[in-house]
């Protein structure tokens, strides 16, 4: 008996063009989602500072410049005091200044605290004054001069200089204290004198009007 050759019937494959397109779209969505997570991560490491205003077993509330922040804490949170010794939650008091390092989740708007360090906020404040103006008077007996700011001419600055003051011209070339002359326009980076009001110590001075004195040409 001769068997007839088997008939091969082609059944439609489950992956039609439309299904392939659907799969493509899903893959593209997932890739885009992952890319967004990489470029705009929901979780970022942050360091929040502030004064403790509330404490309970699961969270600490701090405030800095009138902005309160709630810090989630758990059994893994590490506490370090100002002497860099490990401490615990019980030693945190209302009014304590702290730095909280942890992970901020912008999706759930929570901050999971990993490490709490006791700090002093007074030492954090930079307290810099930057002023642009003209030198109107330079003392010949002491390292002090008076500056009239360009914008508020009634507010004179008494500025002291010391060995740490850095002098540069507008091209960042180093100068010396004697290069400063009355009438020159400068930018001064200042820190207030804690003992004398309205007196500042100059950290850096950029002399905008400095021009090097031409060296004398030799005569024949």
């Amino acid at each position: 008996m001769i068997l007839p050759p088997p008939t091969i019937i082609l059944s439609p494959t489950p992956t039609t063009t439309s299904e392939i397109q659907k799969i493509r779209e899903v893959v593209q969505e997932k890739v885009q989602e992952k890319l967004n997570q990489i470029t705009n991560p929901l979780s970022t490491n942050m360091g929040l500072i502030g004064k403790v205003i509330q404490i309970d077993s699961s969270q600490i509330t701090i405030t800095y410049q009138n902005n309160p922040s709630v810090l989630k804490i758990d059994s893994t949170t590490v506490y370090v005091d100002q002497n860099r010794n490990k401490t615990n939650l019980a030693n945190i008091k209302i009014g304590q200044d702290i730095l909280a390092m942890g992970i901020n989740d912008s999706g759930t708007n929570t901050f999971q605290t990993k490490r709490v360090v006791f700090i002093n906020l007074n030492t954090v404040n930079l307290n810099r004054t930057v002023v642009i103006g003209k030198i109107v008077d330079i003392s010949k007996t002491s390292p002090i001069f008076t500056l009239i700011p360009s914008k508020n001419k009634n507010n004179l600055y008494q500025i002291k200089t010391d060995k740490n003051t850095v002098y540069v011209d507008k091209n960042q070339q180093k100068l010396v204290a004697t290069d400063l002359k009355s009438g020159q326009k400068i930018i001064a980076v200042l820190t207030p004198d804690p003992k004398i009001s309205k007196t500042y110590t100059a950290l850096k001075i950029m002399d905008l009007d400095y021009a090097p004195t031409p060296s004398p040409t030799p005569t024949k």
Partner: protein, 159 residues
């Protein structure tokens, strides 16, 4: 005698009238020629400089031309305020008025730089271990100032 003077007077009068007519004619022709030259368009050659347009600022009517420089601002694009970084060198990126002087103050250093012609800046600074308050002051060409402050914490502790 009288009869001989009359023709001479006529000739003199005629000469004066002719002279006047000739003078008026020449003057009129000259003026007409000048006017026709004024109306002729001049094609500028390649070396002709374009006319300079002077715009008078009108602060109250046209804010775009106003000399009110209180709009001077500074924006810090990165780093984000309260960032926690594991590297002591941080790039400060942002924008302000073109060409402004920039003074970046950290707890231990002061950097002086300037914004480019588009107002952008990007400066690497060194920060201290722990909390750093950073202050960026911008001073524009009118001596107006703008200030931005933010906090960066540098720690190598694994979070």
């Amino acid at each position: 005698m009288v009869s001989s003077n009359v023709p001479m007077f006529k000739e003199l009068l005629l000469a004066v009238i002719l002279g006047a007519l000739l003078g008026f004619g020449l003057t009129g022709g000259f003026v007409a020629l000048k006017n026709s030259q004024k109306n002729t368009p001049i094609t500028p050659s390649a070396t002709v400089k374009p006319a300079v347009t002077t715009v008078t600022p009108q602060p109250s009517e046209n804010p775009a031309n106003a000399l009110n420089t209180n709009n001077h601002q500074i924006t810090i694009e990165s780093p984000q305020n309260e960032s926690l970084v594991a590297n002591s060198q941080v790039a400060i990126k942002g924008f302000t008025s073109p060409g402004s002087y920039l003074i970046i103050s950290t707890p231990s250093k002061t950097y002086l730089t300037s914004a480019d012609n588009a107002g952008n800046f990007n400066t690497n600074i060194d920060i201290d271990t722990g909390v750093n308050q950073i202050q960026v002051d911008s001073i524009d060409s009118q001596d107006d100032q703008a200030t931005a402050q933010f906090i960066i914490t540098y720690s190598t502790t694994k979070i």
